[in-house]
Symmetry: C2
Subunit: 538 residues, 2 copies
């Protein structure tokens, strides 16, 4: 259904029940299937997916009066309670989300509303507050932490507030290198609008093709070029947020001492405080030169030292990544073809340098000196080009694995450099142990893809034989991994966010007083709790 059945509204770019678009979907070769069977005991799909038109969607809980009220605000052509509009906004794209999409009975928002400007957002929120309807802001639908679950909380219904009509480049300040972008623009849409003026966003998370500017901001996104360009929260200078109790326009300079930085409260707020409608964000001129270089390190430890030395220097590659021995061995480091091709062995690192010629030349040379000193061997650009070409492909592989009966999910964290080894071991151990307890063999791979002078991210990919109840199985494994993360002193998320799935661990991160602060802000801006219930705040 969904793609196949009647819908009144434009659909999200992504398929309703898998990552991405059909044209880019992939399937495992028989050889890889054989390998999965031999190594992990993967024995085919645990249960057949329902035929698309047999999905039973929960009845909509909004009434005609609600729909009429929404239509009055946004226009009748921008409201729908059709199943074909509701289902594609039923959640994000975590593995549990994808597994739920295979069930015969599914839940979804009770309606979808597409406001066209800040005034309409404010009016929709006012109506929902009055009518007791919860609101889930919806951008690209790429959440992998349950951030879009259609939770009603104390409300009688829930609507998806789709920001897709916020699709304009409002202004480009070439002197300040600042673009004012509306929140519903996807990565490629923003890139195209900026590209016509000679600029680019410089923010390329794996969700780039589908996620939106507002989503990048609301989830504290970090892109593959974060080493050189910074995280999205570092690129944002201004924000417009519409909350039930007021509209905020924040940011008069990149940095200020005018009290607490309230932008940093909305960055990462995941729709629970207000709806981000517009972002003023740093953009960059298209680079005059691009250099890519792959490196082989004897092991993850020596590669980690190399990345740390560079991260603590004053220069920085645009992208700098390091795969561990396992990820390097199965070639997930550079392609989406797990297990295919020859691995260089050791621990593979990919660096890119983008910018003016004299700058990339100098930075590449300084990086090479540091990498060689740490035991790295230059491999030339080929594997780095291969990584670049496949940089958005990995999530498609997950669907192919699920189709073949292999569970696959990613999770991530960040820790200070001195704890990286301990955190990596703890999380890997927790994943393998929990999966073993569920009767499954597993393969755990890890890479560092975001570095800071004091800290690094750790991104884990786990592939395993799915059990008979794969949703329950992963829930327990995820619980164990999350507990291992917080117990080892790392953060519950470096860039995926909190959503519903990490919410139970936020009190470990922020403490009871910190949670009280979040609740206080929530009460000030959304006293009736209509915004994205069940997310972020424990």
């Amino acid at each position: 259904m969904a793609d196949d059945i009647a819908h009144r509204l434009p659909l999200p770019t992504m398929r309703w029940n898998a990552w991405g678009v059909a044209a880019d979907q992939t399937h495992l070769s028989e050889g890889i299937k054989g390998l999965l069977a031999a190594a992990l005991g993967v024995a085919g799909p645990p249960s057949a997916s329902p035929a698309p038109d047999s999905v039973r969607l929960a009845d909509s809980l909004v009434g005609e009066a609600d729909l009429a009220a929404f239509a009055e605000i946004v226009g009748a052509e921008h409201v729908s309670a059709e199943p074909g509009d509701r289902l594609p906004r039923a959640g994000g794209k975590s593995t549990p989300d994808l597994l739920r999409r295979k069930q015969e009975e599914q839940d979804a928002p009770d309606a979808v509303v597409l406001p066209g400007d800040e005034g309409e957002v404010a009016a929709v929120l006012a109506y929902c507050e009055e009518a007791g309807i919860a609101v889930v802001p919806f951008g690209g639908g790429t959440s992998v932490v349950g951030g879009l679950d259609p939770v009603r909380g104390g409300s009688r219904a829930v609507v998806a507030l789709d920001l897709r009509r916020f699709d304009k480049l409002v202004a480009l300040d070439e002197v300040s290198q600042l673009a004012t972008l509306q929140a519903g623009l996807t990565g490629p849409q923003a890139e195209e609008l900026l590209g016509g003026r000679g600029y680019r966003l410089g923010h390329y998370p794996q969700s780039f093709q589908f996620a939106t500017i507002g989503g990048f901001a609301a989830a504290r996104s970090s892109g593959q070029a974060s080493s050189g360009h910074g995280r999205f929260d570092e690129m944002v200078v201004g924000l417009t947020v519409v909350a039930p109790r007021g509209t905020l326009v924040l940011g008069r300079a990149q940095k200020s001492a005018a009290g607490p930085d309230l932008r940093q409260v909305f960055l990462g707020s995941e729709g629970v405080f207000g709806v981000i409608t517009e972002v003023v964000v740093r953009v960059r001129p298209k680079p005059a030169s691009v250099r890519r270089q792959a490196w082989r390190f004897p092991d993850f430890a020596s590669g980690q030292t190399a990345l740390r030395v560079v991260a603590q220097s004053g220069f920085r590659p645009t992208t700098m990544r390091l795969s561990d021995e396992m990820e390097t061995g199965v070639n997930l480091a550079t392609t989406a073809k797990i297990g295919d091709g020859d691995s260089p062995g050791g621990a593979l690192s990919v660096t890119t340098f983008e910018g003016p010629e004299d700058e990339t030349a100098a930075f590449a040379e300084l990086t090479a000196t540091a990498f060689r000193a740490a035991g790295g061997t230059e491999l030339g650009p080929a594997l780095a080009d291969s990584w670049d070409a496949g940089r958005y492909s990995a999530p498609y592989l997950r669907d192919a694995l699920l189709e073949a009966g292999a569970g696959c999910e990613t999770l991530e964290t960040a820790a200070i450099w001195s704890k990286v080894d301990e955190v990596k071991a703890a999380v890997t151990g927790a994943l393998l142990e929990a999966l073993a307890a569920s009767g499954s063999k597993a393969l755990v791979m890890c890479h560092i893809s975001h570095v800071y002078p004091t800290s690094a991210s750790l991104y884990f990919t786990v592939v395993y034989a799915m059990g008979a109840d794969p949703i329950a199985q992963w829930a327990e494994v995820k619980r164990a991994a999350s507990q291992a993360i917080v117990d080892s002193g790392a953060t519950i998320s470096h860039h995926h966010g909190v959503g519903a799935d990490h919410r139970a661990w936020l009190a470990d991160e922020d403490g009871e007083a910190g949670v009280a602060m979040l609740r206080a802000v929530k009460s000030a801006l959304d006293p009736n709790g209509i915004l994205n219930p069940g997310k972020l705040i424990p």
Copy 2:
């Protein structure tokens, strides 16, 4: 008094009624006094200062029971209500503060309490909350925005909570380049503790010699090396904060997507939410090489372009400054000897490069290329060395000017690059106009000392003939300048903070909903409003 009369507690490093220490005080030459008379009509002190022992200090409003309770918590040797202890904590070091110190009747905190650990801070706050006593956290006493005013608010008394016993380097993680520093350490104390291990703080605001780690964090300090090393809020990875409603220990990695960044709520909180007792901050190895270079630009406009181009590149000098034609002309750019010596003319820029040899060599060359392209001429290192040698001297000059009857104050802001000229003109105009209206001629100088890819700071120094009521005169001039700042879209403070003096403009910056957020956080952590009343939150 104060330095001269009985005190029980160790005193703040700074003199009670002037900037800094007596050994470094300076006086104007007769030539400069003549120039001030000729150019601005400065005609000597408007009124004599009272003899130190004739200051009448308001009676302390704490009673014996309060002092006994404090002594029970922190030890009798760490509590005092003696005038000699109260007066040195009576306020900060703005020009109005210094003018108030010359009055015969003065206010001060009713007592001073020196807790020794987080438990004692919590116990003092609990007692004060119960007893209806306000608390002003006190570090180095360097606030120039009224952040330390002994305001009682709704409480019956106010005590200064001096953090000076929080003076330890708790831990140094050389792998992560992170130091855990207690909040009461002054800049030089922290630098000495780190220096013994081969590291340094890398944070050198003009208040460095006296201000504390906790103050740097609470006020969102930005140092002279911010171009290369970042602001203090960018260096902080962890924070411990004791609030009346709980103690927070924040920060598991430099960056995270675990919801809003609560560290950025305490950074800039100026003591109104809690007492910052410990900071985990990025430190740097002592640099292997230091390069300094002065440049002359034909004018401020061309120099501004040069700084912007470098700020928008991937490399960065450690320090990068640009004085306007007026500041260059009177040599305030490089020395504390206003009006002395020969000026290079045009707009002077100072750059420093500190770090490994290959890095500073590469960055200096890249910077030189950009500066030459923008019309800059290398002047060699001499003027840059002179700036470095006098980097902490300027505030002493203000006391010398006040002594000679010339008003002198600084104020600052930041704006996006495309607005810099407009903001500079608006603030300069507002200062000159308001001073003219008060019957005074004035000299307004400006420099850029903190740059970002999208924004720059503007730092103004104004020298003028003091009127008959100098406190009222400056209050009106300051009001006009602050209004010009917010009206031109700039931030009310880039690094001085909000305190009492900028509080009226915070609603322009954050909006009513933003102020409501601050009030909500305040209510969650300090529901009885005992912490630093009258500061920050309008």
